[in-house]
Structures are given as C-alpha cells and as structure tokens.
Amino acid sequence: MVAIVANPQMEDAIELSDQFEADHPDIDLQFVSLPENEARAKITASVATGAASSTS
C-alpha cells in the first residue's frame, strides 16, 4: 500500500503504475491518495502507531 499525495504529478504516477504492475506481476499496488494536509496528518499518525503502509 502506498500513501500518496493527490497532486497532479502523483496522479500521473498512479495512471502509469499499470506499467509497473505489468512488469512486476508479484506486486499488487494499492494507493491511498490524499490531499496534502490530510496526507501529512494521516501518514504521521500511522507511522507513529506502527500501522503503516508499505511505503510512506
């Protein structure tokens, strides 16, 4: 699971990630896309409690 910020360049990355998944059939990507302020708060909370996604 990837916690990602909902800015335009990141939306592009989500769109293009099909190509990553095609090359990595063993990896199943899941994105949690949040606006900047919300992403900062949620990621800080989840890293603090250890309930973190694979990638922050």
Partner: protein
C-alpha cells in the same frame, strides 16, 4: 509520501528504513544524480532515508502579456514592496483577474510555506537560539501585516480558503497576474491540457527584502516505515517511480512538461525537457541551489528549515498558527490578535525546549 521535514526526524527516531544500501545496489539508479540540496535534505548521517519524487523551491510566476499591456516591468530580482506595487497596478477584479495569488489556506504546508519565506527575508524568526518565541516581535507583526494586506487587497477572492490547488487552478485559467508558489507549479501552468496560459509566463526568483534569496526547499519523497512487512517490494516501486526511466516514461506518454521536476540533475539535460522547460528550467535550478535550510534567516535560530521549523512540534504548532493567519486573512480576527494567540502556542513549545536545556 513524506518530505524533507519528516525524513531527518523519523530517521533519527528509527522509524524509517535506511535506503542508502538499496539505492546503491539498484543498477542504474544513480542516487548521486539527485539535486544536491534535495539529496542532503532527505539524508541523515549521510545516508538517504527517503527518495525524491519531485523537488521544489519557490519562485514568482507572472503574466508577461499582462505586465506589457499595463506598461509595467518585472525586475530581475524583485523585492516584496515592488511586487506589492505591481499587484496593485495589475489587480482587475472587474475582469476576474487578481493582482497576485498567495496561499491563505490553513496548514503548516499551506499558507505557512510562502509566509515563512517572507518572514525570513523581512528579518523575522520563530524562535531565538534560546527558544524565546518571537511571533509578536515587531518584525513578525510587520511581515504578517504585509502578507495579509497584500492578499486581502490585491489577492484572489476567497484567499483564506485557497491553497496550492486553488491557486494553480486560478493562475492556469488566467485569473491572476502573478503567483508566488512552488516551482513545481510548472507541470500544470505550462501543460496545454490543464492551462490556458502556456507560454505567456515569466519566472523570477522569490522576492526578497533583507536576504539575497528566500525560496523554500521541499520534496515530496518516498520512504519505507521500519514496520513495513514488504520492504523489498516497497523499494521496487519507489525505485521505479523515482528512476530516470520513469521521467522518460512520463515525457513520452503524457508530455514533457509533466515530468516531475526538481529531483534529478539529469532531467535538465533531457533535450525534449530542456525545450519545453526553457522559461523555467534555469530559474528552478537557481532557486534550488540557493535554498539553504541551515542559513535561511537574518537572525540566528535554534533549528534548521526554511519554510518550517525543523522540530516535531512544528506540525501541530504550525497548523495552529496557520489557522490564526487564515482567520486574519478572512477578517475574523486582526493580525495583532492572531499573533498574540500564536505567540501563546509558540511559548509553550519554546518552554519545553528551555526546560531540556
């Protein structure tokens, strides 16, 4: 995603995986290609703990055609009072154009990012080296008054609720003559799919008063929490999305203006990117080179950071202060009252560090 605010703090806490071995062992990844100021800001004890998706400083974009039509000239290195004069001249609400866009939305990463760079160059600071809060000092009051006056008089309507997203939309739709914000704005402002003002823009360094430069330094980056059960898989994806090949992929598939900027030096040597980025590549690199989180203020301070104070408490403190600033922009409180409240919050943080000393 995290940033250069969280990375050194969470590396120090042991909450992030050291990525240096991954970065060095991944063929062709080339971590030395990251822009030096960004690489340093995402490192702890010389090792990378997060990798940049994009990097940014801040600069001023302006509509060349609007200034020309009004018989105005943008100085090569504008000061804030000069920018305020231009905003006054260019403000044309009857035609749906504001003189300038500036963030007013609460959030330490929202209105405080531009505001803190203005604080720095006006000679203000959040704390003295011995943690005395300075939010009601004459310099701080002067600069917040300047910012609030500028955005309420010649800024966008609904400024108190406008952040990066609202400003990028407004400017890209031709509704502002100037905008001071992240250099990463170019991916939208110069994108024909998203913007009606492509090719009409000039870019100059962040306006200054007492300092030589004042642009911020920020990177949205990717790190792996030490609690992750899929660290290798996480790295696979992070390496893919921050690699040189990904930048080529974005350019080829979506357009070269949409390449995430400010992460790698090599981006600026891609011929197709150099062509579309002619107006803003050099201003972006100049701003990123000048950004120095260790020397951002006129007077000495106890923690590093340009648009933030690099302490864990800043996330909460900054959010509270940003709410006060936003309320002042909305006219719900005065700048003096907003800063009195803010000083109270900052005092308690400062006192906790004084007790530790």
């Amino acid at each position: 995603m995290i940033s250069n605010y969280e990375t050194p703090q969470w590396a120090d806490d042991g909450r992030l995986v050291n990525l240096q071995p991954y970065a060095e062992q991944t063929p062709g990844y080339d971590p030395d290609d990251f822009i030096p100021s960004i690489r340093e800001s995402l490192s702890y004890d010389g090792d990378l703990y997060s990798v940049p998706f994009y990097g940014e400083s801040s600069f001023l974009v302006y509509r060349k055609d609007m200034l020309e039509q009004a018989g105005l000239t943008m100085p090569d290195e504008p000061t804030w009072p000069e920018v305020a004069d231009l905003a006054r001249e260019l403000h044309d609400p009857a035609n749906g154009v504001s003189g300038i866009c500036l963030r007013g939305l609460p959030g330490w990463g929202e209105n405080l990012a531009p505001l803190n760079t203005v604080v720095n160059t006006f000679g203000g600071r959040w704390f003295t080296p011995d943690w005395e809060a300075q939010l009601t000092s004459p310099e701080f009051v002067e600069v917040v008054t300047f910012y609030v006056d500028l955005v309420t008089r010649y800024g966008e309507p609904g400024a108190a609720a406008s952040g990066f997203s609202e400003c990028v939309t407004r400017y890209s739709q031709g509704q502002a003559a100037m905008w001071y914000d992240a250099t990463s704005m170019v991916s939208t402002v110069e994108s024909p799919a998203d913007s009606t003002v492509v090719g009409k823009n000039g870019y100059v360094q962040a306006p200054v008063v007492e300092t030589d430069s004042s642009g911020w330094l920020y990177s949205w980056s990717l790190g792996i929490p030490t609690t992750s059960e899929h660290q290798d898989e996480a790295w696979e994806f992070m390496a893919w999305v921050t690699d040189k090949d990904y930048l080529q992929l974005v350019g080829a598939e979506l357009g070269w203006e949409r390449v995430p900027p400010g992460s790698r030096l090599s981006t600026y040597r891609i011929p197709q990117y150099a062509k579309v980025a002619k107006a803003y590549a050099e201003p972006t690199l100049t701003a990123m080179r000048a950004a120095d989180p260790d020397n951002a203020t006129v007077q000495p301070v106890p923690a590093t950071g340009i648009q933030f104070v690099g302490i864990p408490e800043f996330q909460d403190l900054g959010t509270r202060v940003s709410q006060q600033v936003s309320a002042a922009i909305a006219g719900q409180t005065t700048v003096e009252e907003a800063l009195e409240e803010s000083q109270g919050y900052a005092d308690s943080v400062g006192e906790s560090y004084q007790e530790d000393q």
